[in-house]
Symmetry: C2
Subunit: 487 residues, 2 copies
């Protein structure tokens, strides 16, 4: 009885969160600019109403009284309790202070970045860091502050796992990046082939068709910063079109991976943790798996090049597309434009900077210098400006610290899942024939349908038979880029 | 202090309602079909959360303790109290029963209409009628049931006003309709000029530009049943494209009128009753004013015909467009396609049928017969099918009874406002020059900016110097259609 009441309450909270998701999608994709003041208030209200429902004494009573009758129900109670405890430990005033501070931070960061003026952003960043330290002290006083914040995005892997993974990459991937960057081999992007936006859109829609995107439960739109959002009934993707049609494609395939995860969550568990995705690491593994281990492979291009050519009136070969999709650029300071390899160098430096910052080992005003030194260390050069350096990413202005490592954890997990799937299924042969259902079905069976039933580490063990290890990614990268760059 | 707390609470409730508005807009315009199950639950949650906030004891205490310090604050308290009392009087179980019954009714109605089978819808309709009678007994036991329901849509004019207006139209407009329909004069629609959808869209966008639609706070999309929704920060319109480009135009101008009202509500009162529109009669007056008293006038076409021709590669004269926009069709059973005159005959028959139904004077299974008799009486013919008759409109399947009269009240009020404005401003001269700001500014000053500050009757008196009267509309109709149809 109490269990059912708890689930009713949880579904309400989840519906409010999903409603907020629709409002945010609309804000990014559809809303006229002048709508901001009302939209901000609507979102603040939904967030406060949901927070009130979650932290209400009633929730605690229901949690205490709930008698889960099987493992599924135990998982639901575990996840709700975790959410309840974290939310309940943080004073409402602090939640509101953080919400106000991040609202105010966004335009300051935007302007500072535009003017390439780190000092303009510094006081705001300092305030956000202070507030987040305070938040960390409340939400989990038993662990270092950075770890408490990291757990916000990845609840179960532990910061030690993230460190282990990043250590391995620092030791084994950074030298590979060095070798690739100093190799004589270089490839050209497809920027020069000049494909207009309509043709790019036709091409990415065709790719979504080919990959099996479920248009009955999704849609494609344009957004300045592509993202995906929604539920198992309605998981939408966005993309953007620029000079290089491959950017639009890889970005679309990436978001397709996220949406496919969401669409694979069980319908009848909508609104409970069993019908919700397992946080950022696993989500990112799904997007990277499709983006990198499908979309950037030669077999995919052996299938897709002709369709690409038809949609864009081009004439590229599979080999040329494959090479273009795997170009490692020598002097690119922009994380979101980075290739599969240097991407993790960008994450390493951010991880080190933000952890030191939250733990009080460096001050805000030291950031640009520390950033640039690490940039040189991991990427071989210094960015020309802070706009392309320490001011580059939006995350800190959102008050998000501890988010960056989940990008790398997701990539690494993608490689680990890919290795496991390839033990069982000839993905290359299927890709050559344009058959993507076998991969999707495998992921649905082993990852998607479980929702939050398992903790992250359990889910990974369950799906791949191993704990999360960077070695799968390193092996994959050495094999692939070794051949491509003759190193 | 209590007053401020009350306002905080009211703003929360309003934000939840506006969030639901975004979700409904998305559902009609953007959502993939498969999204329905999740969307229904999200909307049900928002509605229940908002109902809980409104009917909470805390709201009553705040209302009792609030000491409004001026007329504005008094108006806020009056409106919140009205909402609180109506909501609080209805048992939660009944609210939920109605919500479930209407959700279930919609597909039944859709199918019955498709199959032209009234009997299939009859049991569902009977259930809805019973529930709404019960609702009426709770929400206002002091008045006849139909009146209690009518007050849901028009709180302050009173059913006696609606009756007075409809009596006048029955006496004075129905004979005019007869005369026009038997006149030798007839006009042709623009259906034949063959304008594709892209050209129609360019044309209606140009019309919105010309009328002064604020694209910074709005957008135009396509929806099967055009509507407008939003807030003073973001008021969107929809339209549809069919054979006749004038249908798209008049529909767009109609929704523009609604949106212009919404955009004229005071920004700094967003979320309070002073920043919300004054219910359906006044809202419909604004859409009809722009649609009929601007968009269907000769001076408007003297300005717009050339722009229409340019956008649609046509070659029509202002006179031809004016005549086409004011064609009275002899055998059209469809309300939403009706012209300015016969429209009210459609409303008269619906009003009489639904009132008799709610008051128990007729039974559900008698509806088709009664409908068709009244149809003959007011429109001179019987519809061929129930799909074009008693099953035509969606309202009853929504459990909405008492809504229809507000369409007529809105039209009549539009004519009354138009008469008043024309005493002060030469609208025709402005229209010929494409100047629509003077009308918009007058409406903003005299109607929009007041929100719910005045009761409907006070607002009408305030804006036009008279109580609501059908005679303004009858005079307008006799003058206009007398000339057009030589009667």
């Amino acid at each position: 009885m109490s269990y059912n009441e708890l689930v009713e309450r949880v579904k309400k909270i989840s519906n409010i969160g999903n409603a907020a998701g629709v409002l945010r999608w609309d804000q990014e994709v559809m809303m006229p600019e002048g709508g901001t003041p009302a939209r901000s208030q609507q979102l603040a209200t939904l967030s406060s109403v949901s927070h009130d429902l979650l932290t209400d004494e009633k929730t605690e009573n229901l949690l205490d009284e709930a008698e889960p009758s099987d493992e599924s129900e135990e998982a639901v109670v575990r996840e709700v309790r975790r959410g309840y405890e974290r939310a309940e430990r943080v004073p409402n005033e602090l939640v509101e202070e953080i919400s106000t501070a991040t609202s105010e931070a966004h335009p300051v960061w935007t302007q500072a970045k535009e003017k390439d003026d780190f000092e303009e952003f510094a006081p705001t960043l300092e305030r956000l860091v202070e507030l987040r330290r305070e938040y960390a002290d409340h939400v989990n006083p038993d662990v270092p502050r950075y770890e408490a914040l990291f757990e916000e995005y990845e609840p179960y892997l532990g910061l030690d796992t993230a460190e282990r993974v990043l250590d391995t990459l620092r030791e084994e991937l950074v030298p590979l990046v060095d070798d690739v960057l100093s190799s004589d081999v270089s490839y050209e992007s497809l920027e020069g082939i000049d494909v207009d936006e309509d043709a790019q859109e036709a091409m990415v829609r065709d790719a979504l068709d080919a990959l099996g995107y479920d248009w009955e439960h999704g849609r494609l739109d344009v957004a300045p910063h592509p993202f995906s959002s929604g539920t198992q009934f309605d998981a939408r993707v966005t993309t953007r079109f620029g000079d290089d049609p491959l950017d639009a494609l890889t970005s679309t395939v990436h978001e397709f991976g996220h949406a496919t995860y969401t669409l694979g969550l069980p319908d009848d568990e909508y609104g409970t943790p069993l019908g919700e995705s397992r946080d950022l690491t696993v989500h990112e593994s799904q997007s990277r798996l499709w983006e990198n281990h499908v979309g950037r492979t030669l077999p995919f291009w052996e299938f897709f090049a002709s369709r690409f050519n038809e949609a864009t009136s081009s004439d590229i070969t599979p080999q040329r597309a494959y090479e273009a999709a795997n170009t490692v650029e020598e002097h690119n300071p922009i994380r979101v434009e980075a290739d599969e390899l240097t991407y993790h160098s960008h994450i390493l430096l951010r991880f080190e900077v933000e952890r030191a910052l939250i733990e009080g080992e460096i001050e805000v005003d030291e950031i640009p210098q520390v950033w640039n030194e690490k940039h040189e260390k991991y990427l071989g050069f210094r960015p020309d400006t802070d706009a392309e350096g320490a001011l580059q990413d939006i995350h800190w202005s959102h008050g998000s610290f501890g988010y960056f490592p989940t990008y790398t954890l997701g990539s690494v997990l993608a490689a680990q899942i890919d290795a496991k799937v390839r033990d069982e299924i000839d993905l290359d042969e299927h890709a050559r024939k344009g058959e993507f259902d076998p991969l999707r079905d495998w992921l649905r069976e082993n990852v998607h349908r479980h929702g939050k039933r398992y903790k992250t580490d359990e889910l990974i063990e369950h799906a791949t038979g191993d704990e999360l290890r960077a070695s799968y990614f390193v092996d994959y990268a050495e094999e692939k880029y070794g051949k491509l760059y003759d190193v």
